[in-house]
Every structure is written in C-alpha cells, then in structure tokens.
C-alpha cells in the first residue's frame, strides 16, 4: 500500500522540478516579447535578438569570455591530466597531500580565492587583464578538471598501456595511442565543464579583470543594475541553448558520473 505521504512528497518533488524550470521558461518566452517592458506581453518578435547582435559592448565582452574560457579550460584540463598521471605514480602520504591541496579551491569560498589572487597581483605590481583573468579562472576550474580526469584515469586498465609498451611502444607512443584515445570522452567532458564554469564565472572575474578585459557576466551584471531589458532575456535564452548543447556534447553518462558518482554508490 502506498502511503498518502508518499503521494504528497512525490507531488512536492514534481513541484520543485517545475520550480527549477519556470524561471528559465519565462526568460525564453519573454525574450520574444515585442514590448519594451520585459513582463508585459505585446506579441511575438525577434527584434531583441537583432538588438543583441548590434550591441558592440556585449559582443566585445562575449569575445573576452570566450577567449578566457578557451584558454583556461585547456590549461586546466591539461594540468588535470598531467596531475592524474603523476599521482598514479605517487604513494601514501604524498598522494593524499597532493590530492588534498588540488581540491582545496573547491571548499574555500571563491570570493576569498579572488581576493587572495588580487593581493598577489597587487604585491607583484602586475597589471590586471587577460593574463590575470586566465590565471584566476585556472584556479577555479582546475579542481573540476582534476576531479573528472583523475576518476577516469584511475578507472583505466593500466595493463593496456603496459601491453602497448611490451609490444614495442615507448612511453610517449603508449600515451599517444592508447591512453589518450581511451580518455577522449572524459577529457572532453572536463574541458566543456571547465569552459562553462569559466564562461559563467563572475566572482573570480570581479577581482581579476582589468581595463579592456570585461567578461560577459561582468558586463551583464552592470547592465542588470540599471534594470532588466528584453535584450538581456534574449542573451539569457542563447545561454540556455548553449548550456543544452554542452550537456548533449558531454553526454548523459559522463554527466551522471561527474555529478553523482559511478554506476552504483
């Protein structure tokens, strides 16, 4: 017999999932609103997308975000892969210490990490700009890249690379032809996750951006302080679409492994 409370909680759960979607759907719908006022429906129109395409400031910020995300995601994934391979060679305390410090940025509030980096850049007299922005985003994304790549690397059957070596591959060839192809999916997942984390980052960017390196979220944030416009809804819709594509790109199985662990816990 099903308990009545089971029915209640099931409906509550469905309600929560709906709660997660209503705001997103409203953004998408209102982005096609012809009205100047976001929430007063005045017929279907795509004019805000046209306005978006003409907004040179936003486009410049989009470019900065894309560049920073591209570079920091690549650096983070590469560092993560190398670290995973290196950690497989470590034993005992050193391994625990290294992995512990690698995941440290996950627990420390991002705002403190941002302040900390700003202090170092200030002490060194470094100009804030693309470089500092990339370094900041590297700090934020590296633990995620390491988390995914480390899991995938440890799940690899090490005898495969050994077999390749026995068959005459040198270490580099074994890596290039056996290990790397086997890790292609998780590496892609790590890269895409890092890319989106960097692309949407606002806290770290607040402290590490400089003149001429305003990222998209920073620009949107300052636009929002002046009030929400249908144009921003149009941008939001494009970002939702972009998220959907990333999720499809990563694949559901990878995604589940990353977020809730392996097949069975």
């Amino acid at each position: 017999m099903k308990h009545a409370l089971d029915t209640v909680t099931a409906w509550l759960a469905r309600g929560v999932i709906a709660f997660l979607y209503i705001p997103i759907i409203v953004v998408v719908v209102l982005s096609f609103n012809d009205s100047e006022i976001t929430y007063k429906w005045a017929g279907f129109s795509t004019r805000w997308y046209g306005k978006l395409a003409d907004n040179t400031e936003l486009l410049a910020a989009l470019r900065v975000s894309a560049e920073v995300a591209l570079i920091s995601a690549t650096l983070a994934t590469a560092c993560g892969l190398l670290a995973a391979m290196g950690m497989a060679r470590l034993r005992g305390k050193g391994k625990a210490l290294f992995s512990g410090s690698l995941f440290l940025p996950l627990i420390i509030p991002e705002i403190v990490l941002g302040v900390a980096l700003l202090s170092v850049f200030g002490a060194m007299g470094a100009d804030l700009g693309m470089t500092t922005l990339v370094l900041g985003h590297l700090v934020v994304t590296l633990p995620y890249a390491a988390l995914i790549v480390l899991g995938a690397y440890n799940a690899l059957d090490s005898s495969l690379a050994e077999a390749a070596t026995d068959l005459g591959c040198n270490a580099w060839q074994a890596f290039r032809r056996v290990t790397l192809p086997l890790l292609r999916q998780p590496l892609l997942a790590a890269w895409l996750l890092c890319f989106t984390i960097s692309f949407g980052n606002i806290v770290m960017s607040t402290f590490t951006n400089g003149v001429g390196s305003t990222t998209l979220p920073l620009r949107v944030y300052s636009m929002l302080k002046g009030g929400l416009t249908p144009e921003i809804n149009a941008l939001g819709t494009l970002l939702v679409l972009f998220t959907l594509l990333i999720i499809l790109g990563v694949g559901m199985r990878q995604m589940r492994r990353v977020l809730v662990g392996g097949e069975r816990s």
């Binding site: 999932i17 190398l82 410090s101 509030p109 403190v112 990490l113 002490a123 402290f207 959907l244 816990s265």
Partner: protein, 309 residues
C-alpha cells in the same frame, strides 16, 4: 600519421628492474618524470592558492595607506573595525540566511532525491537530466530570471492578483524574500546531487523491506533512509552553507543591496571603500567561518553516527 614499426623494447624505465647503477638511474628518471607531471598543477595550487591565501592573512594585520593600499606593520585594528555593529549585522544576517537556505535546500533536496531514487532506472536518468540543465545554466541567467517573475505586474504578481492575494502592481523586488528565493533557486540543484548520490540504488529494496516489516512512513525515512542519505546531506549542507556566505550578486539584484551578505561586504570593502586590509580581514573571517562550519558538520556527523550505532 606516423607509423613506427618494431622498436626494440629497451626503455630502461619500463624494463625489468636491474640491481645497482641501472636501477638507481631508472628510479631517478622516474622521479623526474613524476615531478614534471605534477609540476603544472602543483605550481598552480602553491603559487595561485596557498601563497595568495597566506598573503591575505598577512594583509589582514596590515594597516592601510592613504589610498587604501597595504602599508605593512602589524595591527588588529582591521578586526576591531569589523566589530562595528554595522558589520556585525552583516555577519549575523549572512549566517541566518545561509542557515535558512541550507535547511530549505536540504529538505527539498531530500524530497527530490527520494522521489528520483524511487523511480524506475530509465526514469531516473531522464529526471536527473532535467535537474542538470538548470544546474548548468548560467548563474546570472538564473538570477535575473527572477526579476522577470517578480516584477510589479509580472507573472507572479498576475497570479497573486488572480487569487485575490494582491490587487494591482506589487513590489516583490527588491526584498529579503526575493533575495532568499534567489539563493534557494541557485543552490537547490547543488544540494540535490550529493543526496541523490547516497540514496540511489538503495531506496527501493531497503525502503520496501522496512515497510514489509511493519515500519510506518516516518520510520522508513527516519530509521532507514535518512541515515543512508546522511553523508550526502552533510556534503549538500557544506556545498550550500559556505558558498551562500560568499554570494554577492543575488543580494544586489534581488535584494536591492540593502541586506548584505559577507560576500557583498568583501566586494564593497575592496572595490568601493578601497580598504584592502579590512577587506582582507573580512576574508579571513569568512575563512574562519568556513573552517568552523566544517568542524561543526564533522562533529554532527560523528555524533549522529554514534547515536545510530
């Protein structure tokens, strides 16, 4: 494509270990390779996390020059300044908001996770996918979505008008309530994943067994499922509580910037007041709060474990 054929397997690092000089050389080479592999990530963590954190701690004891920069020296003045009632109010409000947000996220997260875990496997995948999309959606988009909803004359207002709760345009934003909804909305998916991770695969069989043995609904949850979900709940609490303290966008956009969180305080001290030493002190307080809450959660976990054991 480069095809290399029949290279003799003579790599000293992988060949059979030989005693003496050759073995020593292989070990040394292995150490060099390991170091080289770990160097990029290691240097990132040391140079861009650990050293900067130490510098923040150091700066929090420094005095400010006339431009708000770091002047050096050692003083406790920055911490004393934070004891001002204005700032204490920020810390109190932040802790309350974070605690409330954590509680709501845990309850709703548990309900959703239980619902998910008790569906057939195929459905679980689909529902999980449904929760991943909002989780992955840009943080700012998820925040300004609520401006749409809560604007006077907007969808929520129309709804409350229709049921007679309000009449005419009502100012839902900016307000503490709007800020709180934004926080719950931002952190709920983050709380769901770890709870679901600890519940999934275990629910159907164990829950049903407990039911067959005569447990009522409450006992199935309090005696069987909640203890199983506990590690996930604790992870979810940590992933909600500490990050909430550091948020600064939501209180500005949905709360109108009046009721500030620690995150707002730090950003204000750095960017508007340009008082770096005091900003550093506020950051150190946030770090201490983080360590303290981790200790509390850890202690709670241990006590609960002993209780059930």
């Amino acid at each position: 494509m480069t095809v290399t054929t029949a290279q003799p397997p003579v790599s000293p690092a992988t060949g059979p270990q030989q005693p003496g000089a050759a073995g020593k050389e292989a070990r040394a080479r292995k150490a060099v390779v390991t170091t080289a592999l770990l160097a990029p990530a290691g240097l990132t963590v040391v140079g861009l996390v650990l050293v900067p954190l130490l510098l923040v701690v150091r700066n929090s004891f420094a005095s400010a020059d006339s431009y708000g920069g770091i002047q050096g020296g050692f003083t406790l003045a920055n911490y004393q300044d934070l004891l001002d009632p204005i700032y204490l109010k920020v810390f109190g409000y932040s802790l309350g908001m974070a605690a409330l947000n954590t509680m709501v996220c845990l309850v709703l997260g548990y309900v959703v996770s239980y619902y998910l875990a008790s569906r057939p496997p195929q459905r679980q995948m689909l529902l999980l996918l449904l929760i991943i999309l909002p989780f992955w959606t840009d943080f700012l988009v998820r925040t300004f979505a609520w401006i749409n909803l809560l604007s006077p004359g907007g969808p929520v207002n129309s709804l409350t008008d229709a049921i007679g709760f309000t009449s005419g345009p009502t100012q839902w934003i900016p307000s503490q309530g709007a800020s709180f909804i934004g926080l719950v909305y931002a952190f709920l998916p983050t709380a769901i994943f770890p709870i679901y991770a600890s519940l999934r695969g275990v629910d159907n069989s164990l829950g049903e067994a407990a039911r067959d043995l005569g447990c009522g609904w409450w006992r199935v949850h309090s005696r069987v499922l909640l203890p199983i979900a506990r590690p996930g709940m604790l992870a979810a609490a940590l992933l909600t509580f500490i990050p909430t303290l550091g948020v600064f966008v939501i209180p500005v956009l949905l709360g109108g910037g009046r009721d500030q969180l620690v995150g707002n305080l730090i950003v204000t001290l750095y960017t508007e007041f340009r008082n770096q030493p005091m900003g550093a002190a506020a950051s150190v307080v946030l770090l201490v709060l983080m360590v303290a809450s981790m200790a509390v959660f850890g202690l709670a976990a241990r006590r609960l474990r002993r209780k059930t054991a």
